[in-house]
Symmetry: C2
């Protein structure tokens, strides 16, 4: 399949995820030297690490050295613990120091994302001098979107985009054309927060500074796109009711995946057992009016569905920074009204269904109207509870320091199922007392 | 609240989503002219449009003119239909032409994202000449990460990053240092596909070309971060079982939101009614063995939960391009095995629960072992069906040309609930025949 048409770096990259380990190595080998370098740079850190392990040492050294220090650090973090030191030792001395410093930061902090090589300028340079100076630095850098203006203590004094530098008069001083209000982060800033700052300020790069305002490195937008994708994937998997996978579906090993799913599934199962406990209390009612059992799945799933809508909305809005903890009462009030309206809609559909079915088949006995009223009232109660509980749960989790995305659709559904059973049978015992019960 | 501390552009921007319409206008007015411009550029298109409507015409003209053409086009697309022409007419003649051309593209195509102003070079220039020429162009451009090398027919001949241009010998020809293999898209390419190409090739910008290879504009990475966030939000909302909102939670009007939720909720309710129809067939069985009714929510929700895990995994992997249609059988085989293992785990928990509960309270009668076997076998069947159905549904939807994210957790749960009822009662009627039934 691979040898049918001549491979390019782009086509190999596009097919990469669908190749086996051996196919990857042979695809890599079949490329020209330049194409191999292009491909290697574009691969994910995990794929780079995998490929590097198949190389003889001299080749591994070459490929490590074409990567920027932050990318080398990522590759090393994807390699087995015991091989990491050997990998760092393949680098030249200056890079070793940079990479070791980066490895000290957590992978999901600004420090773990930043590149320690960036374009520096002095405030008293002219624009012409600055451009000439940047040309001298360019070979050591991964990207140049902005140049950072630092004083003699390496403190960040300002920033200027290449575009602005180019558009400015060549004889102007850098200090006169630079922007002084610089958006920056600290090495410990969480990557989700960094992503929010990029999206809020529409920047291509954000500098990382220490407490004294000295610049340590630069996080660029291309790292952030991966962060945004990763964080969304993790949230989606949590919302689906499982632990986040931390890797592509096809690359995750079978038992690893089953483990990530079985834990939550078993926890949800234990929670759902409470429905059996609750229903055991109503065995007499069910024995007297079997018709009640028929509507149990319909009633409780409506609560689960409305709760899943509400929790998903709130979880995503929180992740995007649209909702803060203190907004909880706005959301509560809004969802209370939504729950009432949505419950009323389902109640009228449910009531009509019973009346129509009864008119056609007479299946619900002489008290069909009372059964209809029981179903309708239960639906309003269950949907209202589901909506408000689903919307509030993420706030409660966040307040407790737990990721709000844990309020998954299945989690909310399970919570609401138990309450749904209680709401349903309580309503039934009130409405149907003296007739069916 | 706003006047307590002096506002900066950054603090106003951070607070923007939590301000009312009047607070926004007064916050904007309280800033200095420079800060107002910074803030305006950083706002979302929808917020820019809202703010522009509060301005007198001469001011609106000023603020429209500080935006790049693609951003003006976005602002205009967020404005009411009847005001759009008047807004375009505020621009200078050259920008009017550019913006009208952009407005002709769909908002979610590469054409709708691209900026028609970008850095151009000729292949026969020297590097020194190229840098001097870029400095002449810089004032008209939004960003300069790459310069695009075009021939006399405006056909794209190559690309060079600013970094590479800076790092190259000043006397070298552009054609000798540029990269010839250029990743490009067409104006009609969908924004999700464009986002995938950015993430695959780790680029800061991608040029848009027509069928003849002539360059029409450039999509930059900062537009893509928004696309990635938006697409993830839409997918998450669909996975939560509702229509996508297309705006922040707090900015969406109450009835708009209820409408987007009620449609799906009602559809799911109608689907879930099939459980009542199915259960009506088993009324005799329930009347004979009320204990069966007690476990209905437990059994069917386990199917729903496992289905929701599987569908969420597959939907996200498809959105990231990790899974293609033709991978369906790999996924089917994998999920078949996952379903068996997960089902067996839940079955053993369920069986133990019944045995232990019975030993403690004697609640399940003399045939408690048969009840336990019924529950265990049903769980294996329901979880297996839920897992495989949840994993295959996104493939079926995609094959039918529907967004796979429609296979939401509630949708899968509803589908599985109906089948779960049938699996459960069929198993019961086989295992319990002659004893309880």
């Amino acid at each position: 399949m691979i040898t049918e048409t001549p491979l390019t770096a782009s086509s190999a990259l596009a097919a990469w995820q669908h190749l086996s380990a051996e196919e990857r190595v042979s695809a890599f080998r079949s490329l020209s030297r330049d194409q191999r370098e292009d491909l290697f740079i574009d691969l994910s850190s995990a794929d780079q690490a995998e490929l590097a392990r198949t190389m003889p040492e001299h080749e591994r050294r070459t490929y490590l050295r074409i990567l920027a220090p932050d990318d080398v650090a990522d590759l090393i973090q994807e390699s087995p613990e015991e091989e990491r030191d050997a990998l760092v030792n393949l680098l030249d001395w200056a890079s070793q120091r940079e990479v070791r410093a980066l490895l000290a930061y957590a992978e999901d902090d600004a420090g773990g994302l930043m590149n320690p090589r960036f374009a520096r300028l002095r405030p008293d340079m002219t624009v012409d001098e600055a451009i000439a100076y940047l040309r001298l630095q360019a070979r050591q850098m991964e990207t140049v979107y902005y140049a950072y203006v630092v004083d003699s203590q390496q403190k960040l004094a300002g920033v200027i985009s290449l575009r602005k530098l180019f558009a400015s008069d060549g004889r102007a001083r850098v200090s006169d054309v630079m922007r002084i209000e610089v958006v920056s982060v600290q090495a410990e800033t969480d990557q989700e927060e960094v992503a929010r700052m990029f999206s809020l300020h529409d920047l291509a790069a954000i500098p990382v500074v220490d407490e004294e305002g000295r610049i340590k490195g630069v996080v660029t937008l291309d790292d952030i796109v991966h962060v945004v994708q990763e964080e969304a994937t993790e949230d989606i998997q949590k919302i689906g009711g499982m632990e986040a996978l931390h890797g592509p579906y096809l690359d995750t090993r079978f038992f690893e995946m089953v483990k990530k799913r079985a834990g939550w599934l078993a926890a949800l199962f234990l929670g759902e057992m409470l429905t059996a406990t609750a229903m055991a209390h109503y065995e007499d009612e069910i024995a007297q009016a079997v018709v009640l059992a028929v509507f149990i799945p319909l009633i409780i799933s409506s609560g689960g569905n409305s709760g899943s809508q509400a929790s998903t909305l709130v979880v995503r809005a929180m992740a995007l920074g649209e909702l803060r903890l203190r907004d909880w009462w706005i959301v509560a009030w809004r969802e209370l009204r939504s729950g009432l309206v949505l419950g009323a809609i389902l109640a009228s559909i449910g009531f009509s269904r019973i009346v129509v079915w009864h008119a056609v088949g007479g299946v619900y006995g002489e008290h069909y109207l009372l059964v209809g009223i029981t179903i309708a009232l239960s639906l309003v109660g269950v949907v209202l509870f589901g909506t408000v509980a689903g919307a509030m749960l993420p706030f409660i989790l966040r307040r407790a320091g737990v990721d709000p995305a844990t309020a998954s659709a299945p989690f909310v559904a399970t919570l609401v199922d138990v309450t749904g059973v209680v709401i349903y049978f309580t309503t039934a015992s009130i409405v149907l007392r003296g007739t069916l019960l």
